[in-house]
Symmetry: C2
Subunit: 438 residues, 2 copies
């Protein structure tokens, strides 16, 4: 018989205990922030009808996701984000008071080429606000993103903010009026900080830009800096007569007023090259970067997408939201040494000196577990020496040694593994002995 | 253009906020218990190679799971349990000290016919112990299951315990020696409590049993009760000369000795009809039932499966484990009113009396969120009345009303929505006012 190997599929991975405890910790800290902001937690179905997924991004999405036919011949797909499902969930609900603030922290699948720190199954947190067209809602989305970073301990970040209305209005004003060209220019602008300068210029030329128009686009997208100062400089780019651009400008003025009220402006940069590549954004957009890990991309991003809900429902619902990758955030935290040490082994091992001590071992194990300690004991009928070697090999901080002579006197020995020291304590006081920092 | 409906696939569902908070609460309580027992948390990949899934249960599994070809033509499948993945994870690891205690709390997919409280995507907790052939390990699995129930507040349950070695040995002893027949008898015995008596007898006859052999099987599987008493009664069914049955008997004696040491025997029933239908169990098996909700099936179940790791790895690793459905547990908790009330709306809404008060609103919102309160404010430029109506409609317990006259005096009004009462408090003391139970 041939030896089966049972590898796992390309781009997939098993999560090992250290990573899992970190993910749980990060997710708990994120949920804590989302609740403080009044977001209700939901989880859209992981399997959607393929047409639901295609409705957001078009049939090209098929090449980037997992999709298949079920046994009844229906086309299904694994969710590739949480925004689609959440928008579908609210788009036909007329019974909910607005704004509807919902969020999700869950896994999703993309059939990408696997690359560094990028698997085909990964997790995101996603907070969406439906039913407000006001910049207050965009500010709430930006603030919740910032507090997510603060609450996991990431302090060196900046949020780059812009407004698609402003960018699109500017492009129209300088004569780029074809929708196709506007979209392709925006897709290239999104790459300003991600590809070399020469490649960027090449791609921009490929969209049909040349001469003074190309130069004006270059001058515009390089405008970036402290919000008040950029808002002044922008005036030279805007005629004041272009409705869309001025509406975008006014929304930014109001946004920064709210962000100022929340004490957040010092983290913000108003940046004309921040446009988010995806087609459905149509207002304020933003991306946050960890200054120590810009290479891994945005730690959160989002923006306004007032027209998406039309696709899924029977009416307009203005919407804005923010999302971030959990695994990416974990890499940032590890690099900046902000990830806390999380226990990965039991705190206590209760060892039996001989067979007759085992019943007392079980009793002590139960008592300590009832008090909330992580406790293990011998499951393999090992000698005392074997038990001690096991506890040592997995680096369990405390070993409680239960022997017949000690038990007769109502005491046990408690060994501090790191210090290689032993003390005798009464059975009732074991929890105090194992609570001391080792 | 036809109106798209964007339904979700049959057997799938979106999780709404109330259910989601309950699931998070239940999962947290379960993880707390699993950690106390020293289980390390992992998560096997959600997508496996189809051959990995088939290796456990045979190619028939294809009809019960989601499987498909990926773009490279490889057969993949969505995980249908957590045991397969965890066993694959440890089967080729020779570097880990044993026993290896790992657990997972995660979602999985089955292509079942949807039925009451049973969707095609659901969640389980699963704790497995690899590397111990001793009944201590089976006892640890049973105890962790019991503590899971206790820790979520389910107190009216019983655990039915048996040993497949004992059952199979007994069947051999009375002349049922063909492996096929042994397996089909066991599959029917599993149904004793699940189908009507006449159907049960019919199915048992179909396995080829008749006359006194049928009667002996019936007498045997009806043996059930308090462990000590059943252990005595079982002696009349066992000759003492049948190795396998006696080994199973001795394992049970040792198991109940450990469970006694952990103070757990009063919840346990030794029950010869508890056999678990699935083929790969080969030792101690058990199932727990909530006495108020036996109709929804076992709230946890498990047992020993010493031969499964051979399939996935290059050596034998004895193994035992326990798993339970999260959604099923939630139904039990709701029926027995053991599910706690969990907050589903923000605790505080901060309302602005007029435009000039808004900046102070933002400041107060931020301060309260920083203190950990769940706080919302107006995102829609509503009048004060509109804001109050909104807070009322979503039943937010406290409304902080920020007006220019009060702010000038350093105070705000705090309205208790349920009591319809208002008090004036200093801005610095808002958190005290909204901490009072409403």
């Amino acid at each position: 018989m041939s030896e089966p190997t049972f590898s796992i599929p390309r781009g997939m991975k098993d999560i090992e205990p250290v990573e899992m405890e970190r993910r749980i910790w990060v997710q708990d800290r994120i949920l804590d922030v989302l609740r403080r902001y009044g977001f209700k937690i939901v989880e859209p179905t992981p399997i959607e009808n393929l047409e639901t997924l295609e409705a957001k991004c078009g049939p090209d999405i098929r090449s980037e996701i997992y999709w298949f036919k079920d046994k009844a011949g229906r086309n299904l797909g694994l969710r590739f984000d949480l925004t689609v499902g959440m928008t579908r969930m609210v788009a036909n609900r007329f019974d909910l008071p607005e704004p509807i603030k919902i969020c999700a922290v869950a896994g999703m699948w993309r059939y990408d080429e696997p690359q560094f720190a990028r698997y085909r199954f990964f997790h995101q947190w996603d907070a969406e606000i439906y039913g407000s067209a006001e910049p207050e809602a965009d500010a709430d989305a930006i603030c919740v993103g910032m507090d997510v970073l603060e609450n996991v301990g990431l302090r060196e970040y900046e949020v780059r903010i812009n407004n698609r209305k402003l960018v699109e209005g500017f492009l129209r004003r300088i004569g780029i009026t074809q929708l196709d060209q506007v979209e392709s220019v925006i897709r290239v602008v999104d790459k300003l900080r991600k590809i070399p300068r020469s490649a960027f210029l090449g791609e921009l030329r490929k969209t049909g830009l040349e001469g003074s128009t190309l130069q004006r686009v270059l001058d515009f997208v390089e405008v970036s800096g402290e919000p008040d100062e950029v808002l002044s400089r922008l005036k030279e780019f805007l005629g004041g007569d272009e409705d869309q651009a001025m509406r975008g400008y006014d929304e930014l003025v109001r946004l920064f007023d709210v962000l100022e009220g929340f004490g957040r402006v010092r983290r913000c940069i108003l940046d004309m090259s921040t446009v988010r590549g995806i087609g459905y954004y149509d207002g304020i957009v933003f991306e946050a970067f960890d200054k120590g890990s810009e290479d891994i991309g945005a730690v959160f991003g989002g923006g306004r997408y007032d027209k998406l809900s039309q696709i899924y429902g029977k009416r307009d619902i203005p919407a804005t939201g923010v999302a971030g990758g959990i695994e990416r955030l974990m890499i940032s935290l590890e690099r900046s040494s902000a990830m806390p040490g999380l226990p990965s082994v039991p705190r206590v091992f209760v060892a039996a000196v001989n067979e007759t001590s085992r019943r007392k071992v079980w009793d002590i194990v139960q008592r300590l577990r009832d008090k909330g300690y992580s406790v293990d004991f011998d499951l393999r009928k090992r000698s005392l020496r074997g038990q001690m070697e096991y506890a040592d090999s997995v680096k369990i901080p405390f070993v409680v040694i239960v022997g017949p002579k000690e038990i007769a006197r109502g005491v046990v020995k408690v060994r501090d593994t790191a210090r290689r020291s032993e003390v005798e304590v009464e059975v009732e006081r074991i929890n105090e002995a194992v609570s001391a920092s080792s």
